[in-house]
Each structure stands twice: as structure tokens, then as C-alpha cells.
Symmetry: C2
């Protein structure tokens, strides 16, 4: 690429989050950056889009960098749609989402607003990467993520990504010197076992908080969970064709049209 | 199965929607039904879950049937989690979601609360089906869907579904006599081209409505879009392992660890 690439940046923790501020710093060393991100946290929004209410977008100035930034009232997927159709003059060369405060490995990809934003860009034919650090804290230390985020981004710009493939990158929360490298993985078969915390409100009515325990029963050494537990940055190629192609033939043997 | 199966019913249009009332009628002819569904419409919620606010659940009585019904303040995925952990005495034998008012074919599966509820059940190891009728109207006529919903449900109860596979069923909005049968398909590669409707609020501030045009560039005759356009009920086996397995080897050839 002879000229600087145009990079769209978004996230799900909100435009003020330290994770996206780190991502902006890194991307400013690579290309021309435009930020379109939610005005408030949107974790767990999955691939929600705003159908029944209105969307507001406002240009904002945060920090000292010169990139244009827009704060949006919608979900992460809305941000990407608005950026492409209403804000950017041309299709971006890349969309990066994050750096998420907390893991989006294994089944978390399904619930993740960060990854849904990247997937939305992928649907639009834009190479896209979601980045996450395994630390939920607002003041997480993103320093160790920088060389890995930069390396993976440069490799995507060099190689491109095929239509329909997005990268899901997770970075372990360990000191820089202990990170062993980058490992290409599959999504582990793990899930959350919910434990609802049932309480009574001041009026005596029952309500619940969703909590849960993460359970990984997948012992494969080719999974993202294995990589992260063993000190690697995990990279999972992720797709939005949800068809279980291998099962089509089985279904054709059912008695569906008798 | 010698005793009647326990069937969990949910949707994303809300517990009052005609589509779920039809689904309840059909499932009452097959098994013992429990309904746990959102108290208000949740279309386009994707796989959102409620992390930052509380959840309320209330037992309700709608219509004359005797099944227990619970109305929930959360998303479709929340409803399934709450049903399994807090409401049902045992794991259901089946979860059905819908009948959605409007299509969940091709890329719509990603945005669909109806399908996310079914996928959530699938993550929990429960055989699950999402049903949708290609008619967005509240007073859509669900009569023609009945024999197909019943047939597919009975086939799932007879054959089971492998771990990680959920069925996405869409039914064309045509008279019963014109439906040609059931076709097993893959998800078409189609997407929405958004056209934001930009307006000014009474205070003069710009806002947007998300609208769009559905574009199908996939001319395969093995897709759900082809089946629906040609008068078939489409059945797509759907998975929540989003790994693009075919692309792992390519990524391993990148220069990620230099």
C-alpha cells in the first residue's frame, strides 16, 4: 500500500475507554484514523442493532490527537453502519475494534459487542480485527498489548483477509516478558454456567443479576483458551456464515417431506 | 420418547405476539409447554445479554391454555438463561423460538433475537429451532406455518440434533397450497445496504433512523433465499462455532512471530 491506509476504529466499552484510546495511539502510527464509537458502554450487546429508536451522532474532541472522532448513541454494529454510510468519504481499508476490557475468547465471541462491530465491518467487505485484553478493569494496563496489536494489524494490511473472515485477537493479562508469541487457534468449546443472584428490591419484588462461572470442557491444545492459559496471544479466524455445512447431508436423510 | 417432551418456548417479538401464540398452540399438541418470553419487542437484539441492569420475571396468564407462562424484562438470550437456571425443574427436551414476524434467513440470523434465543439453548446442549414467517406484520396469518412447524419439530424430537447445531427455519409468506415442501439449505451470502434516514428533531438536532435494502448477490440454488423465493420452507443447520477452520492453515503461513 503506497499511501496510508484509512482505519476505522470502534469498540463496545465506549469512546472514553482506555482500551480504545490505546488502540487509537497504535493505529496513528500505521494509518489515517477515524473513530466512531458508542457514547456509553455496550458490553454484552452482541450483534444488536437499533431498529425501534433513533440514533444520534456527535463529533467530539478527546485528548490531543488530531483524528476525527464521533460519539454515537447506538450499538457497536450501529457505529460501523453509520461510519460507512454517513461519516466516511470512502470505504476504510481496515476496521479495528477494541481494545476490549475483558476476554472475547471462545463462546464470548457470540455475546461480544467488540467482535460484532468487527463482524459488521466484515459483512461490508472490510478487513476487520477485534482486539481484547483479558482484564476487565477500567484501568487495565494495555502496555503489553501494543507490539502484538501493531504486528497483527500490519500483517492484515500486508496479506488482506478473504471475504467473510474476521480476526478475533485475545491478549493474556501477563507481563510483556512472559508473552510467548502469537498462536492461530480455533474457538474453544466452552460456555458460561449462569448463577443468577436473586434479590428483593426496596418494594419487595424479586429481581435478578446475571452472574456466572466460565467452564471450559475443551482440552484441545489448538484452542484459544489453551493458548491464552499458556501465555500466547490467540488469533481465531472468525466467520459470519453460521451454516453447519457438515450437517446438511444428515438433514437431507430426515423424513421432512413425507 | 415415551413420555411427553418438555418444551421451552420463547421469542423476540414479546410474549403477546401472535407468532408465539401460534407456536404455543402447535407445541401443546406435541408436549408439555413452558413459556418464558420478553415482556416487550426485542427485534434486532442479536445475542445481547443483560449485564449492567437487573432482570424481572413475572408469571402471567394469557389466553385460555394451561401452560405456565413467564414474562421477562430481558433479552431473548436472557429468557433462555433464566428459564434453564431459575424457572424449569429440569432441562427441557427442546427449545423453540418464534414464530418470528419477519425473515431470519441469510445474514438476518446474525441480528435476530429469535435465533439468538435458539442458539443460547443450543449452547446449553438443548436441541433448538428458530421459526420465522416472512411477514413483518403484527397480524400476519400464521395458519400456513402450522403443518411445517409441527413436522420439523417432530423430526427433531425423533432424530435429535448433534451438539452445537440449531435449526433456522423460515417459511414463505404464500398461501398454504403454494408451498412446495421443505428444503435443507445453506445461509445465502446476502446483506443489507443501509440507507440512513436523516432528520432534525424539534430542537434542530440531527438524528437518524436505520433503514435499508436487502441485497442478495448469492445465486446458488442451495441457499435459503433461493428456497424461499421458490416456494419452499428453508431449514439451515446453524452453528455457534464461528471459527473459519479452512483459514487456519493460511494464517499459519503469515509472518506473525518474526
Amino acid at each position: 500500500m503506497t499511501k496510508r491506509p484509512l482505519i476505522l476504529i470502534t469498540n463496545d466499552d465506549g469512546i472514553n475507554a482506555p482500551g480504545i484510546r490505546t488502540l487509537i495511539d497504535i493505529m496513528n502510527t500505521i494509518g489515517d484514523v477515524v473513530v466512531v464509537a458508542p457514547d456509553s458502554p455496550q458490553s454484552g450487546m452482541g450483534h444488536a442493532i437499533t431498529l425501534d429508536s433513533t440514533l444520534y451522532v456527535q463529533q467530539v474532541k478527546l485528548g490531543n490527537d488530531s483524528q476525527p472522532e464521533y460519539s454515537c448513541s447506538g450499538t457497536p454494529a450501529d457505529c460501523v453502519k453509520l461510519a460507512i454510510r454517513e461519516i466516511l468519504d470512502r470505504k476504510p481499508d481496515l476496521c479495528v475494534s477494541g481494545i476490549n476490557h475483558g476476554s472475547n475468547s471462545s463462546i464470548n465471541v457470540i455475546y461480544s459487542g467488540t467482535m460484532s462491530a468487527a463482524i459488521e465491518a466484515g459483512i461490508e467487505g472490510i478487513p476487520a480485527i477485534g482486539f481484547s485484553l483479558l482484564d476487565y478493569k477500567w484501568h487495565a494496563n494495555f502496555e503489553a498489548t501494543k507490539p502484538y496489536v501493531k504486528k497483527i494489524t500490519e500483517q492484515v494490511l500486508e496479506h488482506g483477509l478473504p471475504d467473510g473472515v474476521i480476526l478475533n485477537v485475545n491478549i493474556p493479562n501477563i507481563p510483556s516478558k512472559d508473552i510467548k508469541g502469537i498462536k492461530v487457534c480455533r474457538q474453544a468449546k466452552a460456555n458460561w454456567v449462569e448463577e443468577f443472584d436473586k434479590r428483593k428490591n426496596p418494594q419487595g419484588k424479586d429481581y435478578y443479576w446475571l452472574t456466572g462461572k466460565f467452564v471450559n470442557l475443551d482440552h484441545g491444545e489448538d484452542t484459544d483458551e489453551w493458548a491464552l492459559e499458556n501465555g500466547y496471544v490467540s488469533v481465531v479466524p472468525t466467520q459470519f456464515d453460521l451454516t453447519a455445512h457438515d450437517y446438511i447431508q444428515n438433514l437431507n436423510n430426515w423424513n421432512l417431506n413425507a
